[in-house]
């Protein structure tokens, strides 16, 4: 298949939101993206995980560092249980797949600014991080099975 799918759903992750979330994460020793809808790698490469700022006051932490979010919360901090379906997509026809499933022009996105996009693919709300020639996706797990089946079907047609 000209688009490869890797399922990272079992990677540990946690979320947090609220007006005190950014400060609380800093106190936990995590780097906090300054700009909403951007992300930062944790521990150097992506293998160490990432922290994404999904809005002014909402964050996703993925990877080993996410265990830090089990710490007692403080005022204005609300934990978010993350049970996402998480995927990595790559391959020669990835952009064609995206053109048939999403209204965002991923080729035009400046990856050096580390954008984290909130959009929809095949009608499912996703968080999308383009990184090099890969695309990382997170969606609600209740959509996960249908989401993956649909993407695979279209990818197979493209192949």
């Amino acid at each position: 298949m000209s688009v490869q799918f890797q399922d990272l759903s079992t990677t540990p992750r946690a979320g947090v939101k609220g007006p005190g979330a950014a400060e609380w994460l800093k106190q936990l020793g995590l780097p906090v993206p300054d700009v909403p809808n951007t992300w930062l790698p944790l521990g150097g490469a992506l293998g160490g995980g990432l922290i994404a700022r999904l809005g002014n006051t909402e964050f996703l932490v993925e990877g080993p560092e996410s265990v830090k979010l089990a710490a007692p919360i403080s005022h204005g901090v609300y934990p978010v249980l993350r049970q996402d379906t998480a995927l990595v997509l790559k391959g020669a026809r990835l952009n064609d797949l995206l053109l048939e499933t999403c209204s965002v022009n991923f080729l035009a996105i400046n990856r050096t600014t580390r954008p984290a996009l909130l959009t929809s693919i095949v009608g499912v709300g996703v968080t999308a991080i383009p990184d090099g020639d890969e695309l990382r996706l997170w969606c609600d797990s209740t959509y996960g099975e249908w989401f993956l089946d649909t993407l695979r079907t279209i990818a197979a047609e493209l192949a």
């Binding site: 609300y78 049970q83 999403c102 209204s103 022009n105 009608g123 609600d140 959509y143 649909t150």
Partner: protein, 937 residues
């Protein structure tokens, strides 16, 4: 006939294709269209007209020939002038009775005087006779035949992006694309033809430069079907639709060459000069041997060169202009071809069989010919410009509408812009400006000289007392039809269109609108500019159903137990975006038996239902209780930690919109549920309120992150006991956090189905494991999974309502028998003011329980059947089912308030009109003291 091979022709003579039309075999070539192949075989009659079934042939050869529409197997309305020929095609003309040659319906032409404009409005208003007329019209009208067995093609849709989109790959469009790309823009140029080039037919240096340019994508065989906000243009390709988002659009769509109107102007052999040129240049087809060229512009004389080069004899040029410029006619004069200036064709004379033109009668006399080629002017192909919001004006110097003010980011060039001569220069100007609009280079502001002579004649219409001077070839409208419509008062362009149907056929007026508005202008003493045009709406060209009904996305949500349900024989039903088990099929049992079996397991043993589709929200913060006080109609500030309470939500008009259960986990921490269908809406609405109120609390949506299941029945507690560390002597409506099967869980003591029950909420990833453990633990107790239908039955026995089924978009809490939940003495809640006002008025209706007589065995009412009182509608049934526990039909219904008294009798009307007796009954029907669900020992 086919001309000798020449360079640049679109056909591949080495690949012959055999096909069939109207039962006869023909040969064509790869690269042919159906029409070009038939023309090469000398076939002139390709179809029959819509109303009078007159023989018709090719006219434009530009995808607008609505009288050359064919049926290809199950595919109706194949446009012969644009559809590539395929080997083995078996084609027939549409809209004939007995074939195109001997169409029996041609007799309708004899009755044309009895079919005046708007005749159906005048003749078919009798209600009594309407079925007869309807049957007759359905039989005699319409185009192709729809094959309902045709498979549903999931044609893909795709998004596209570019800086500059150029629509039309003719001279002006190609020049625009090149100019924009040279300035650095990413350009896409789209054209409906198989090859770029427009009137150059692909053979030009400009085409080669554009195709080779690295920043230009040339998209052929594709048309831009509409123009939407923010330069969003759907591109229709044969196999898919691309939604192209451009930063700027250059409309270089050219013009439609316009027919002249004279008696019998629809005979096969009479066609537009540009159509004849296409046949000659692209497919090397000689469309006639001896022609009369009807002219009114310079284009006609350029076309004449093509005709002569193809070996066509030009018997005469009949020019509508009084004076023909010497430069235009000198070449013809040198060949002794007569040019009759200030002349016109009064009528065309058909051959004996009526299937072709035999001669034309002009002011100068009769001229024998087998073809008439017409070049009297152009209409701008401007629908996309109109849709973009362009303000157009009528330009008397070119006798066409031209853009006066284009919207930001939209540009026009070439014929559609009123530039017919310096098209390349105009394209360069527009391309440069479009690129500059996107931030590439600067607008070169190129000067484009205006036309020195109008390319369009202002009145190419010749009256004839015997009519048959057709103005609209789609709808068989003659000049007199429009004159009569105007005389009858339909003297506005929009009214005239609808009354006469001019421009309402498949070509959407591409060849009729301009002449129609000229007739209207002349009859009303107006100018064409004052008359204006009709509204141009997307799509301006027909889009196949396979594209419109192509691949769409309807996401499905599945709980983590989906595979378990599937394995257990679930019969699925949609609940909003969710898939839920309606019931679990058991081999050898009916649907009803399965549902009742599941209900019986809950009543007498233990059952397990997946309720993970419920909305699941969490709110934390010092003002979390205050927030809930404001959004729900009951009180929560005093709710004790470790307890739950039923919760009803209203909108600001006091209408019930949702319900659920609120659980207090800590002083500043609540977990609450919503209805399945309301989850997303309620979360969005609560987030909106929280933004407005700025309370010190935050809401988290856990709907997808948490799995949930309800274990219920007299044996439920025993099943759960071995799997949890939670003390199960917890009281009814309590909530506890603890471990179930080694997983952190929230347990809520509920009673929706009327038995001892507990909702178990765990993270999504553990849902399936907990389900498995409960099913295994309950095996010896005969546990059964139960579906939505069993739950509906069980809750009905308890008289519990379902929001959306037992309420509608106007139901207040009082009407739904939820007065007890409304706490009007609270300082504020959403909907409070409305409910206070409503409370001062008499109640219209009341939800009540009802029963049918125990002996009722005949057909039972269904949901939505009406309650009838004294012959009047007095309510409706919202829920009804046969109760195994009570051995009778029970239900819920809205009735007039005065009828809502115990044992009040009323009637329900079945679909067939039969009335069924019922009586109001107190709820709960089952276990009225609620002892079973409250049991805590």
């Amino acid at each position: 006939m086919r001309l000798p091979p020449k360079q640049g022709e679109w056909i591949d003579r080495n690949h012959p294709l055999r096909f069939r039309f109207e039962g006869r075999d023909y040969d064509g070539c790869a690269g042919d269209t159906i029409a070009s192949a038939l023309a090469a075989n000398g076939v002139k009659v390709l179809g029959r007209s819509f109303k009078y079934h007159r023989p018709r042939g090719l006219m434009s050869v530009a995808n607008h020939d609505v009288n050359a529409v064919m049926q290809w197997g199950g595919m109706p309305n194949v446009r012969a002038d644009a559809t590539p020929l395929v080997a083995g095609m078996d084609l027939t003309a549409v809209n004939t009775f007995g074939g195109v040659d001997k169409d029996k319906a041609r007799i309708l032409g004899w009755f044309s005087r009895f079919l005046p404009v708007g005749f159906y409005y005048k003749a078919f208003h009798s209600k009594r006779l309407f079925p007869l007329w309807e049957k007759m019209f359905r039989m005699t009208t319409g185009l192709g035949k729809v094959d309902f067995a045709t498979p549903h093609l999931r044609t893909p849709k795709r998004y596209g992006f570019c800086d500059v989109l150029v629509i039309g790959a003719g001279t002006s469009g190609l020049s625009a694309a090149l100019a924009a790309a040279e300035q650095g823009a990413d350009v896409a140029i789209v054209d409906e033809n198989a090859k770029p080039g427009g009137s150059t037919h692909g053979a030009s240096e400009l085409v080669a430069r554009v195709v080779a340019h690295p920043r230009v994508r040339v998209i052929t065989d594709t048309y831009a079907a509409g123009y939407y906000t923010d330069h969003w243009v759907p591109l229709i390709e044969r196999g898919r639709m691309t939604k192209m988002r451009a930063r700027a659009v250059v409309v270089a769509s050219g013009g439609y060459e316009q027919p002249a109107v004279f008696r019998n102007n629809d005979l096969p052999g009479i066609m537009l000069a540009s159509g004849a040129q296409r046949l000659i240049r692209r497919w090397s087809v000689k469309p006639a041997q001896r022609i009369v060229l009807l002219a009114a512009n310079a284009d006609a004389y350029l076309a004449a060169e093509d005709f002569l080069a193809a070996g066509i004899e030009i018997a005469a040029v009949v020019d509508l202009r009084d004076v023909v410029p010497e430069a235009q006619k000198s070449a013809l004069a040198a060949r002794r071809i007569p040019v009759h200036a200030g002349d016109c064709i009064l009528e065309a004379i058909p051959t004996a069989d009526g299937n072709s033109v035999a001669s034309v009668r002009t002011k100068s006399g009769e001229i024998t010919c087998d073809g008439v080629f017409v070049s009297v002017g152009w209409a701008p192909a401007a629908p996309l410009l109109y849709q973009a919001g362009t303000k157009m004006r009528y330009d008397d110097s070119v006798h066409q509408f031209v853009p006066e003010k284009l919207p930001d980011g939209a540009f026009a060039c070439g014929r559609v812009n009123g530039i017919h001569t310096a098209r390349s220069l105009d394209g360069e100007r527009a391309g440069s400006a479009a690129a500059a609009h996107c931030g590439f280079g600067v607008d070169r502001a190129i000067f484009v000289p205006a036309e020195t002579e109008s390319p369009t004649h202002p009145w190419p219409i010749v009256a004839h007392p015997q009519g048959k001077n057709f103005l609209d070839f789609d709808e068989d409208l003659q000049v007199a039809d429009l004159e009569n419509a105007i005389q009858e008062g339909f003297d506005n362009i929009e009214l005239m269109k609808r009354y006469s149907t001019v421009g309402m056929g498949p070509s959407q007026g591409k060849h009729s609108n301009m002449n129609a508005l000229r007739v209207l202008a002349r009859c009303t003493g107006s100018t064409p500019g004052e008359v204006g045009t009709t509204t141009a709406r997307p799509f301006f060209h027909p889009v196949p159903m396979s594209h419109l009904a192509g691949r769409g996305f309807a996401p499905e949500r599945r709980t983590p137990m989906h595979a378990r349900h599937e394995a257990a024989g679930a019969v699925w039903m949609s609940a909003g975006v969710w898939q839920r088990p309606e019931y679990y099929a058991v081999s050898g049992q009916s649907r009803l038996d399965c549902i009742r079996g599941e209900a019986d397991a809950v009543r007498n043993g233990v059952g397990l239902i997946d309720v993970g589709t419920l909305g699941k929200l969490e709110i934390r913060g010092p003002q979390a209780a205050e927030f809930l006080e404001r959004v729900y109609i009951s009180k929560y500030a005093g709710l004790k930690v470790g307890m739950t309470r039923y919760a009803v939500m209203c909108d600001e008009s006091g209408v019930v919109i949702d319900d659920g259960v609120v659980a207090r986990l800590a002083e500043d921490h609540f977990y609450f549920t919503t209805t399945t269908s309301g989850a997303a809406l309620i979360y969005r609405e609560l987030s909106r309120w929280n933004t407005i109120w700025k309370l010190d609390c935050g809401i988290v949506n856990l709907t997808g992150a948490m799995a949930a299941m309800n274990l219920a029945g007299p044996k439920a507690k025993a099943v759960l006991a071995g799997l949890t560390d939670v003390d199960l002597s917890l009281p009814y409506l309590a909530v506890r956090e603890g471990m179930v099967c080694g997983v952190s869980a929230r347990l809520m003591r509920v009673g929706f189905v009327g038995e001892w029950g507990v909702e178990i909420h765990v993270p999504f990833e553990h849902g399936a494991a907990v389900w498995d453990a409960l099913m295994a633990a309950g095996k010896s107790a005969g546990i059964r999974p139960f579906g939505v239908e069993a739950q509906r039955l069980l809750r009905l026995e308890k008289g519990h309502i379902i929001i959306g089924q037992d309420t509608d978009g106007l139901t207040t809490p009082g009407e739904a028998a939820l007065d007890w939940a409304v706490k009007l003495d609270k300082p504020f809640f959403v909907g409070q003011r409305s409910l206070q006002a409503i409370a001062r008025k008499p109640r219209r209706q009341q939800l009540v329980g009802f029963m049918l007589p125990a002996e009722h065995t005949a057909e039972a009412p269904k949901e939505c059947h009406l309650v009838i009182e004294d012959g009047e509608i007095a309510g409706r049934v919202t829920s009804i089912a046969w109760s195994p526990s009570l051995s009778r039909y029970i239900g819920l219904a809205y009735v007039r308030s005065d009828m809502a008294t115990a044992d009040r009798k009323f009637h329900i009307r079945l679909t067939g009109g039969t009335l069924v007796a019922a009586r109001v009954a107190k709820t709960p029907f089952y276990d009225p003291e609620n002892l079973r669900q409250k049991e805590s020992a």
